[in-house]
């Protein structure tokens, strides 16, 4: 356990050190100007988009998790549970279900990218990795999403 925590400590510190060295002059005086110059410099754009999306999906998932747990109180009453599920089966909620999968998929793949980069290498190929994350997200969202919305939006279109 000591060894593990020592190792984690080292990885964490080296990572933070590199983040500081990389972030350049903006680290000491965050201002609108330094924000703009960072935002407009081409190299970090993918990294910022990844960071922002990771944060937004994470927060959305926490919010949904709380709603979900409160909804599951209906497990104590079979009628209430069937009513609860019927609400979740309306077309609008089916679309939301696929969006939820999309959020989880992006957050998971991007989280794994962060994990791998922290542990093994600090890649200079941020953009490539970000595009791989996006591609995997789209693939998983489609693969899982199509069966979910099929009876609602696809089957009616078929002859």
């Amino acid at each position: 356990m000591l060894a593990v925590s020592g190792f984690a400590h080292q990885v964490y510190r080296i990572g933070m050190q590199q983040n500081i060295e990389r972030s350049g002059p903006s680290r000491d005086n965050p201002s609108f100007r330094t924000f703009l110059s960072t935002a407009s410099s081409y190299k970090v754009r993918a990294g910022m988009a990844a960071w922002l999306l990771h944060r937004l999906t994470g927060l959305a998932l926490v919010f949904y998790l709380a709603i979900h747990i409160m909804g599951l109180r209906s497990l104590s009453d079979p009628a209430a549970f069937e009513i609860y599920i019927t609400v979740y089966r309306s077309p609008l909620f089916k679309v939301a279900e696929v969006m939820l999968l999309g959020a989880v998929a992006f957050h998971a793949f991007n989280g794994l990218r962060i994990l791998v980069q922290d542990m093994f290498f600090r890649s200079e190929r941020q953009r490539t990795l970000f595009y791989i994350v996006l591609a995997l997200t789209v693939i998983v969202t489609l693969a899982g999403g199509v069966p979910v919305i099929f009876p609602y939006f696809i089957a009616p279109l078929l002859p």
């Binding site: 400590h9 994470g58 747990i69 109180r73 497990l75 009628a79 089966r89 989880v104």
Partner: protein, 162 residues
């Protein structure tokens, strides 16, 4: 580290490294748990009722009591579309009869809550500058977490006991 505007995330205090490590361990665990969860609850597998099965289930429910018959008549409980697979109380109950499934669901609950709240506390820490407010926010986060952990565990453990 104790300046009012210390740069958050640059220190390497014990609790910060612990949170960082926990975030990663729970993240890996969540990948596995969420894949399983999605497969069981959202995909057309035997864990859900087919349209025909659901129709039978509703027929049975309708005869069981006025609260069901009423809800069905009002459309609050609705028949499945052709090809649709539905999560239903009886299927969930059947699965949660197995202690292993109870354990898996509770692990998912704890991992998601721990990971989510560590993340939320970190995000709040990024935007709240006053350290007293930051502390209050973190305490609120964990109070809510504790409440949700108890609530979720009770739901899973007591299913079918009414």
């Amino acid at each position: 580290m104790n300046s009012q505007y210390d740069v958050h995330g640059v220190g390497s205090s014990r609790s910060e490294v612990f949170g960082w490590l926990m975030q990663r361990i729970t993240g890996i665990g969540l990948v596995l748990f969420l894949m399983l969860h999605f497969w069981v609850q959202h995909m057309p597998t035997g864990f859900l009722a087919t349209a025909a099965e659901y129709s039978e289930i509703l027929k049975g429910l309708g005869e069981k009591g006025p609260e069901f018959a009423g809800a069905i008549a009002e459309g609050k409980i609705r028949e499945a579309l052709p090809g649709e697979h539905v999560i239903t109380y009886s299927k969930v109950l059947e699965r949660l009869q197995a202690p292993l499934w109870k354990m898996i669901d509770i692990m998912l609950l704890f991992f998601a809550l721990l990971h989510g709240m560590l993340g939320l506390a970190k995000v709040l820490g990024d935007y709240i500058q006053r350290s007293s407010l930051r502390k209050a926010a973190v305490i609120c986060c964990w109070a809510v977490t504790l409440f949700l952990a108890v609530q979720g565990t009770v739901s899973v453990m007591t299913v079918g006991m009414n």
